[in-house]
Symmetry: C2
Subunit: 114 residues, 2 copies
């Protein structure tokens, strides 16, 4: 499997958007988020725990997501399930637009015409 990984710097400034978008449809806990992002990007974004958890704390502190420990049906230790808050949903919309402007601006420089 040829899965070129990203430049760590490429992720900067876009991680929050990725996390909010991942939580858009349903609540998730850490391991699920890592797996989902990896699956949705064909392995391009390979989040590390040291990247994910501080980011989740940042988003929670901002009030965009809410974490709650839950016992999973399959047993095991309780996991911290994060849910997108209404504020987070608004933020997701804004960050999507901000990313669109970013992508459009990059196109303006590297794409020539597109």
């Amino acid at each position: 499997m040829n899965t070129p990984t990203m430049n760590p710097q490429q992720l900067k400034g876009h991680l929050d958007l990725l996390l909010l978008a991942t939580l858009e449809d349903s609540p998730r806990y850490g391991g699920q988020i890592i797996a989902d992002v990896q699956a949705a990007t064909d392995g391009f974004f390979n989040l590390r725990e040291g990247t994910l958890y501080p980011a989740l704390h940042r988003l929670e502190k901002a009030g965009w997501i809410a974490g709650e420990f839950q016992q999973l049906p399959r047993g095991g230790s309780p996991v911290k399930v994060y849910t997108l808050t209404p504020t987070g949903r608004t933020e997701l919309r804004e960050q999507r637009e901000k990313y669109e402007r970013f992508a459009h601006a990059v196109r303006g420089v590297i794409g020539g015409s597109i």
Copy 2:
């Protein structure tokens, strides 16, 4: 003029690509690069001198661009004109592809289906 500016973090990891692409067609010096990037992005990317010059030095050290002081026809102090090297042209191609993969990966997460 409503020119929403980018999150500083959004630039990280993409600056080199922008600079290489700006120099693709013709050599440029600092002030021109700032103006060109600003124009090509409708003011979205507003490079600062403290951002640009260290970046140019980084690219020059990598052998992707070559700087040479030149006297402009219109007079004034000599300016340092940077030219894309053959190696830099190869690097530009690679960084373009890398950006495409990045953009595609982001779409995979935030675009849902697109």
